[in-house]
Symmetry: C2
Subunit: 357 residues, 2 copies
């Protein structure tokens, strides 16, 4: 069939409520615009884990991989599960298990008001970050020696493969080429991490030659963090390892109005037929849960990224435009200068989208 | 004798010229204020390396360690030495070789004009970062396997010891206690780096108990980078590993007016008798070299940190105050909104300091 099945995992903290709003938006697309979407809610997260010890069962993993075009994830992390085991099993279970090597995170400001930099506005912040999503320190390699003694040594290894580095660098250049962006910058720390990041430098240098029409350079990640604040306009596409991508996109969120505005896609960029994972960049923010105050816009913008992935890119642009209008009219939550609750802010966007369809 | 010997290494790029200005300021202190300083210039850096292959000779290392109270370093790094071997030998030779485990980097804005955040001024940016300086990914552990083949694997290890983590965390708390700062925040990535950063969390939790009067918390480093832009006033003292300290202090420099304003000290915090290393946070910036445009203020503020270390803390405050006045009167270089060259900006500060002495 041509129908697209979407697995929905609300997760923990504010996850379920922003994901509920995202689901309602998807329902508008299904019911009003007639998009062939099947929504499948999965009961996974801290509650489920505490109830019956289940994190991300193998049969669910297989079913998602076989049947779904996309997964929409809210957020994971709950103070009742200190080590975040369930969160890691589910999140890394999909990122690693489905080999979703490109974590694509747009750093795009939708309103002048949300840009915290003097003399800068929305037009100055429009970057897409390609974060490597399957390697680096996230693989968990390492250990602790003589734990708990004065002689303890603890190591995490930053693992990088030729294959892993090449495919994310290539994904960044391919994206730039496809979308008409003219500049790709890689961030590394090759002046200190001589083994791992010499590989990044070398691969970057090889791959960039295949894209002579695209301006490319590398920066040390420390310099990048400084320059992106001093002048974000110089960056269009960024590519970097897992850890640096994590750091730089949170920093980027500060330029967009906070984590309440930051969307992301986790994709296997070279095989668009594969199931992909969509999640707002924010976490579960337990103190905000259940209070109808969390910003739902990151989740709605994430729906936009998903619709592009599924073949309806105009809808991503529409959602962005409507969210920008909501911000302009202060029809938004307090974190972005409005007075509405989660539900009312999401409803404003949903109704405006529905009217346009 | 009570005289303090100071080794001076200009280094590469803009290093020699800003260091020359720093030396002239030290000479004012020696000649006009009568401080017992002996200045010892060392010919080390790319030129020397290219001339006779010398990076950081053992006998110099020993002499510095035996005879000097402090080292003033300009900057290292030269495009003619691609791998930066000489830079690493000298810089890490001192940081590691002298066991200078605390890289102390104030993130302090000296003028409202230099703070790039809407609605924020100088009073909002006053943080001191304690960066671990002898471990982490900087130890160089790791390697490359099947280099140059499609199967290549490259690893850098993030090495952390109980001793290393404890002493830097303790240094941060001791500093807070000594200077009356009320809040210490540790940044880690324990949700992804479970071995290395579980140690950081555990040690932080132990050490903080010894300082009940100080408010303490930890943040994931990604969250820290976001929050320091959204509201820098919530931070007073930060402590983190080598790599994160590198990244966060460059980001911090963006809040101070750029790298031209950022000073640093590398000290063995628990033994103040030991030689310490003082360097501006900026690099050698080869394109700016020899043009009389580099900002000398980071180097002058670094002299201030050195004078505190040597026992004259009032002079650090004086230098800060005079540099702030220079910024206010636009007696500064273009990067911070002035029109003066390196020499003239430094002379303005030096003459004002001399007049006050
Ligand atoms: C929850 C955490 C492990 C995760 C990460 O570091 O990838 C989060 O910060 C993110 O950016 O998605
Ligand atoms: C030159 C480089 C190796 C160095 C570092 O990463 O420590 C620099 O960025 C610094 O911050 O002093």
């Amino acid at each position: 069939s041509q129908r697209k099945k979407i697995a929905i995992i609300g997760g923990d903290g504010i996850g379920p409520s922003v994901t509920h709003e995202a689901k309602l938006l998807l329902e508008v697309y299904r019911d009003k615009a007639g998009l062939p979407l099947d929504l499948w809610e999965l009961d996974l997260g801290a509650d489920r884990f505490l109830r019956d010890g289940v994190t991300f069962p193998k049969e669910i993993q297989i079913a998602v991989q076989r049947e779904c075009a996309a997964v929409l994830l809210g957020a994971l992390g709950d103070p009742r599960v200190p080590g975040m085991e369930h969160a890691r099993d589910i999140l890394f279970g999909m990122r690693f298990g489905f080999d979703l090597y490109a974590n694509v995170r747009p750093v795009k400001a939708l309103s002048d008001r949300l840009v915290p930099l003097k003399g800068r506005g929305a037009k100055d912040v429009d970057i897409v970050v390609f974060r490597e999503n399957t390697e680096g320190v996230y693989v968990g390699m390492g250990g602790q020696f003589k734990r708990g003694t004065p002689d303890e040594v603890a190591i995490n290894e930053d693992l990088n493969t030729r294959k892993g580095v090449e495919r994310i660098v290539r994904a960044a250049f391919e994206y730039a080429k496809r979308t008409g962006r003219k500049r790709v910058c890689m961030a590394d720390k090759s002046n200190a991490m001589r083994h791992a990041h010499e590989l990044w430098l070398r691969v970057f240098d090889e791959v960039r030659r295949e894209y002579p029409e695209i301006e490319s350079r590398h920066l040390y990640v420390d310099a990048l963090c400084l320059l992106v604040i001093q002048d974000p306009t110089q960056f269009e596409v960024l590519v970097m390892n897992n850890l640096f991508g994590d750091i730089v996109t949170d920093l980027g969120a500060a330029l967009q109005g906070g984590l309440g505005m930051a969307a992301s896609a986790n994709v296997h960029a070279s095989d668009p037929g594969r199931v992909a994972l969509f999640e707002p960049v924010h976490g579960s923010a337990p103190p905000l849960a259940g209070k109808d105050i969390a910003n739902p816009f990151a989740a709605l913008l994430t729906v936009g990224m998903m619709l592009t992935y599924l073949g309806w890119p105009d809808e991503e642009r529409r959602i962005e435009r409507v969210v920008a209008a909501a911000i302009e009219e202060k029809a938004c939550t307090v974190d972005v200068g409005g007075t509405l609750g989660t539900r009312a802010a999401a409803a404003w966007v949903r109704e405006r989208v529905a009217r346009e369809l």
